[in-house]
């Protein structure tokens, strides 16, 4: 459209125009939502406001900055907890969208801000809410964040711990130095033997932090299923979830086989536990 056509017309010529865009807090931010993303950003804002934690965790703000004084991320990133609280209070859809791209992931979740907030806000908490929302909606920023954690998720759902000794691979943890990644070379024995040398039986594995019983790991998976965590993950990485479900099915098979081997009775119907000690 030529610039002449965009000049404001004198009032007498003005015809009924579409109502103008409401002024945005974020006029042209780094991560303003594109026109296609606009309605998603509004959906997210509505959900954010509807989450009961929004009003519980953010009560108001004196802009005192004490939260930022202890924030590790504020020293290194274009981020501050005070900014996050202000976003939570005032945000319109584009501002919240912008914050949910990079800023919320700068937070170290140390809760220094929450401990100190003079007004009683839970700032680390509201940032977690924003993160949950971003994962639930499968935002690209969430996808990027989750990428390195695929392994953690696999471990959690299949063996029940977040870490395993065999994940400290030299290529991935080069900056931790050879003492961390090449312990086997230092001592001239495989990692399995080094784990065997730990005087705690459940730690003698390289595939999990400690050996979790199959029943227990299946309980954790069940919890994740029933509380919607798997669904959250599906939104971001459906292939991963498919793989996890297959792996867990194998575990279930292992479990049933073990029941046969140890001659255990069939499953009890669901109900309150009957074995609570007095």
């Amino acid at each position: 459209m030529s610039i002449v056509a965009r000049l404001p017309r004198p009032p007498s010529d003005r015809v009924e125009e579409e109502s103008p865009e409401p002024p945005a807090l974020l006029i042209r931010g780094r991560h303003a939502p594109s026109p296609e993303e606009r309605s998603l950003s509004e959906e997210i804002l509505t959900e954010f406001r509807a989450d009961p934690r929004s009003s519980e965790f953010v009560l108001g703000c004196l802009n005192c900055g004490e939260c930022t004084s202890g924030c590790p991320a504020a020293r290194f990133y274009d981020f501050s907890p005070r900014e996050m609280v202000q976003v939570a209070i005032h945000a319109d859809a584009p501002t919240l969208w912008d914050a949910m791209q990079e800023k919320i992931w700068a937070c170290c979740q140390c809760y220094s801000c929450t401990m100190r907030c003079r007004f009683g806000n839970d700032i680390g908490g509201i940032i977690s809410v924003m993160r949950e929302l971003s994962v639930r909606h499968g935002l690209d920023s969430a996808r990027k964040t989750l990428a390195p954690f695929g392994r953690t998720f696999r471990l959690l759902t299949t063996v029940g711990t977040q870490i395993s000794p065999d994940m400290i691979q030299p290529e991935f943890f080069r900056d931790w130095g050879p003492a961390a990644t090449r312990l086997d070379e230092t001592w001239g024995v495989p990692l399995e033997v080094l784990r065997k040398a730990i005087p705690i039986d459940v730690l003698r594995t390289t595939r999990a932090a400690w050996e979790v019983s199959v029943q227990t790991s299946l309980e954790l998976f069940r919890i994740y299923e029933e509380t919607g965590v798997l669904d959250m993950l599906r939104g971001v990485d459906p292939d991963l979830v498919e793989m996890l479900v297959d792996l867990v099915d194998e575990r279930r098979g292992e479990f049933e086989e073990a029941k046969r081997r140890f001659q255990l009775p069939k499953a009890e119907p669901a109900g309150p536990s009957s074995s609570s000690p007095g």
Binding site: G70, P72, Y77, C108, Q109, C110, Y111, M115, S128, E132, T145, A147, F149, T152, T161, Q162, I163, S164, P165, M167, D175, W176, G177, A179, A180, L183, V189, P190, A197, I198, P199, I200, V202, A208, A209, W210, E211, V212, S213, V214, Q215, T216, S217, L218, E219, L220, R222, I223, Y224, E226, T227, G228, V229, V236, F262, A267, A270, S273, S276, P277
Partner: protein, 434 residues
């Protein structure tokens, strides 16, 4: 230091202004009792068998720390990368004759994943917490939380479950489908609090002199910044203005605790950053923590009491050489330091070789003959490589427990005579399909 009367007034004033209904820090205990009366949950109570010791918290209230018949709630990062951490703790319990149960029937708290990625939700976190609490309850051992993040998370989950009926009911439903009930322990106890109250017995067993050791203590964020009223404060340490844990045990052993300008700073773990944005974690750790600890506090060792903090401060130093930081400050958890001071084998028990910073220098200062110990350990590794059975801190479990969470008695013989025979028999029905 203040006189006793001023101190008492101060503490009472604090408690009055901070605690109570409608105040910043609500009293959950009363509400928990009410919920139990209504049948909404079961409180896992501390009993005389747990030999609890009282300490004070931020608002001058009391907290009870059970010291016996404990259920170890392990830490992923410790067991995975710093195995000397749990090993030192269990060794200490053996040395002081405390009984415990360490079993495969515990899940991760999942909080590191949550803080790192946001991929969970309050109901899931609370259900995981409650599931582990129920397991501890059915084994009749009181849960002891190893990780600072688990501790902070579980304190929050307790509050959530007590205050939010919707979440509580959802969690209870999920648990019932697993054949479990909603249980909340009377106290959420961190292992460093156990170490703290065991100070007299620990000091009595000291073998090596640490009087000349200067330490810098790093206070883990999640120990005292989440649900801050529930952390140990003691007027004899820092005038009650900083948590007593873990500084008190270091001082009790005779080592010095030196102050530095960034005492309150986080270590830079970041939960997400330590994996996915490590430039931040290592920059922060070196610039904001390691450098002041070395250049201001002149520390021989940094002591901390959380998994993530040990990991960050320990693992971030090697790369510092690329920027001219060649500090190599050993980082130890409180229990590892204590175990070394009490004569634990540096490699077989304290497993110092999993640390990337060099602990040998510190051990020399402590008068520990680590060279012989290292040789012994090499020989042990050879034997293990050739198929020898490994040593264990407690009788290892039967194979059935790789699969099923059966009930089990205490590991250590109980001098009071409340042995396995008087516990409920292993219930095979617990092996029901999830």
């Amino acid at each position: 230091m203040m006189d006793t009367d001023s101190l008492r007034t101060l503490v009472e004033r604090n408690a009055a202004s901070r605690g109570g209904p409608g105040k910043r820090f609500p009293d959950l205990r009363a509400e928990m009792e009410r919920l139990e009366e209504r049948g909404e949950l079961i409180i896992h109570r501390i009993r005389p068998e747990n030999r609890a010791v009282e300490v004070r918290n931020l608002v001058g209230g009391t907290k009870r720390i059970p010291t016996d018949r404990l259920w170890h709630h392990k830490s992923c990062g410790q067991c995975g990368n710093i195995p000397g951490y749990p090993s030192s703790l269990l060794w200490l319990m053996n040395e002081t004759g405390r009984s415990y149960l360490n079993e495969p029937h515990q899940t991760s708290c999942t909080a590191w994943n949550y803080h790192g990625t946001g991929t969970s939700n309050p109901v899931a976190l609370a259900a995981v917490a409650a599931r582990n609490f129920h397991r501890a309850y059915e084994t009749d051992h009181f849960p002891l939380i190893h990780c600072g993040t688990s501790f902070g998370d579980y304190k929050e989950m307790r509050r959530l479950l007590v205050e939010n009926e919707d979440v509580r009911h959802k969690v209870r439903d999920v648990l019932r489908r697993l054949g479990r009930e909603l249980v909340l322990p009377e106290e959420i106890v961190h292992y460093s609090e156990w170490v703290h109250v065991m100070a007299p017995e620990i000091v009595a067993r000291k073998v090596h002199n640490v009087d000349g050791i200067v330490t810098a203590v790093h206070e883990p964020c999640h120990y005292y910044k989440m649900v801050p009223e529930d952390a140990v404060y003691d007027p004899h340490f820092f005038g009650g203005q900083r948590p007593a844990v873990p500084s008190a045990i270091v001082m009790a052993l005779g080592a010095k605790v030196a102050d530095y300008s960034t005492w309150y700073d986080c270590c830079g773990f970041g939960f997400r950053h330590i994996l996915a944005e490590r430039e931040f974690s290592r920059s922060f750790a070196n610039l904001r923590k390691i450098r002041p600890m070395v250049e201001e506090a002149h520390a021989d060792v940094a002591i901390t009491s959380d998994t993530g903090c040990v990991t960050t401060l320990d693992k971030s130093q090697w790369i510092g050489k690329a920027h001219g930081f060649s500090y190599s400050l050993p980082i130890l958890s409180d229990v590892e330091f204590v175990a070394l001071a009490l004569g634990a084998h540096p490699y077989k028990i304290v497993q110092v070789h999993w640390h990337t910073t060099c602990v040998e220098g510190l051990m020399t200062k402590m008068g520990i003959d680590w060279k012989s110990a290292k040789e012994e350990f090499r020989e042990y590794l050879e034997r293990l490589k050739n198929g020898a059975a490994p040593d264990n801190l407690y009788p290892p479990r039967d194979e059935i427990e790789r699969y099923f969470a059966i009930n089990k008695g205490p590991v250590m013989p109980d001098p009071e005579g409340v042995g396995p025979a008087s516990l409920p028999a292993p219930s095979n029905a617990k092996g029901g399909s999830p």
